[in-house]
C-alpha cells in the first residue's frame, strides 16, 4: 500500500495546489491573503505576538511549578487585550469569516464525492 500511496500523492498535491490557486482568486481568498500578508509584515503586531508567546510560556511554567503570581496573570491579560484590540486582528477575523464559509463548502463538495468528511478525519491542527 505504501508504494501505491506514493503514486497517488503527486496528483493529490498537484490538485491541492490548483485548489489553492482557485481559492486565492475568489474575493474572500484574495482578501484574506492580502490581510494575512499585512499581518505578518506588521512590526507592532509581531512584537505583541512575541510578547504574548513569552508571557504565555512563563504563565504555563509558573502554573506547572505552582508559583504563579498575580503579576504574571495581569501581564498575560494585558498583552492578550493588546492583541485582541489591535485593528489588524479585527481585520483578519473579518477576512477569515467568508473564507471559512468557502472552506466548509470545499469540504462539503469533497464529502459528496468521497463519502467522508475530510475536516473531521484530519481534525484541528493543534490536536
Amino acid at each position: 500500500m505504501q508504494a501505491d500511496r506514493s503514486d497517488a500523492r503527486p496528483l493529490v498535491l498537484e490538485r491541492t495546489r490548483e485548489l489553492v490557486a482557485a481559492l486565492k482568486a475568489t474575493p474572500a481568498g484574495e482578501r484574506l491573503v492580502e490581510v494575512e500578508q499585512r499581518f505578518r509584515a506588521d512590526p507592532e503586531i509581531q512584537q505583541i505576538l512575541g510578547t504574548l508567546r513569552e508571557r504565555d510560556e512563563a504563565f504555563r511554567q509558573a502554573q506547572e511549578a505552582g508559583n504563579l503570581t498575580q503579576e504574571q496573570i495581569r501581564a498575560l491579560r494585558e498583552v492578550q487585550a493588546r492583541y485582541r484590540e489591535h485593528p489588524l486582528v479585527h481585520e483578519i477575523e473579518l477576512a477569515r469569516m467568508p473564507f471559512e464559509i468557502l472552506l466548509r463548502d470545499v469540504n462539503g463538495a469533497m464529502a459528496n464525492i468521497l463519502d467522508l468528511d475530510v475536516g473531521r478525519i484530519v481534525g484541528p491542527a493543534n490536536k
Binding site: 500500500m1 505504501q2 501505491d4 500511496r5 503514486d7 497517488a8 500523492r9 496528483l11 493529490v12 498535491l13 498537484e14 490538485r15 491541492t16 495546489r17 490548483e18 485548489l19 489553492v20 490557486a21 482557485a22 481559492l23 486565492k24 482568486a25 475568489t26 474575493p27 481568498g29 484574506l32 491573503v33 494575512e36 499581518f39 483578519i92 477569515r96 473564507f99 471559512e100 468557502l102 472552506l103 466548509r104 463548502d105 470545499v106 469540504n107 463538495a109 469533497m110 459528496n112 464525492i113 468521497l114 467522508l116 468528511d117 475530510v118 475536516g119 473531521r120 478525519i121 484530519v122 481534525g123 484541528p124 491542527a125 493543534n126 490536536k127
Partner: protein
C-alpha cells in the same frame, strides 16, 4: 447588467471554479490506493456486526476513560481493562486493515490540509469540524 450585478456574477463564477477544483481534488483522492484500501477495510468492518459493535463500544469506553483521566478520577482497573480490550481488538485482521487504511488515508489528507493551512493561515480541520465531533 449593473456593475454590482457583474461583481456578484464574477464572484459566483470564481467560487464555482474553486468548487470544481475541490471536486477534482476529491476525485484524485478517490483514485488513490489509500482511499480505496480504506473503503474496502471500512466495508469489511461494517459487514461484521459483532466486531463493529465491539469496536464502537471500545471507542466509547476509551472516551469515557479519557474524560475521567482529565478529571483525575480514572480507575486503574478500568484503564487496564481498556488496554486489554485494545490488545485483543488490534490483533483482529479486519480491524488491523481498517486502522492501517485509516492511517494511510489520514496521512495523505493531512499533507493536503497542511498546504491549505499554510497558504491561508487557517486551520482547515478546526474550521470544518463541527464542535464535539472530532476525530475519525
Amino acid at each position: 447588467m449593473s456593475a454590482a450585478e457583474r461583481a456578484v456574477a464574477e464572484r459566483e463564477d470564481l467560487q464555482a471554479v474553486a468548487m470544481e477544483k475541490a471536486r477534482a481534488l476529491a476525485r484524485a483522492i478517490g483514485e488513490s490506493a489509500a482511499y480505496k484500501a480504506f473503503r474496502r477495510a471500512h466495508g469489511a468492518l461494517m459487514e461484521d456486526d459483532t466486531l463493529r459493535r465491539r469496536f464502537y463500544a471500545y471507542q466509547a469506553q476509551r472516551q469515557e476513560v479519557e474524560f475521567a483521566r482529565r478529571a483525575g478520577s480514572a480507575e486503574p482497573a478500568q484503564e487496564a481493562a481498556l488496554e486489554e480490550e485494545w490488545r485483543v481488538l488490534s490483533a483482529i485482521p479486519i480491524l488491523q486493515a481498517y486502522l492501517e487504511g485509516q492511517r494511510e488515508l489520514t496521512a495523505l489528507l493531512k499533507e493536503m490540509v497542511t498546504i491549505l493551512n499554510a497558504e491561508f493561515g487557517v486551520d482547515y480541520g478546526a474550521v470544518c469540524t463541527p464542535p464535539g465531533s472530532c476525530c475519525g
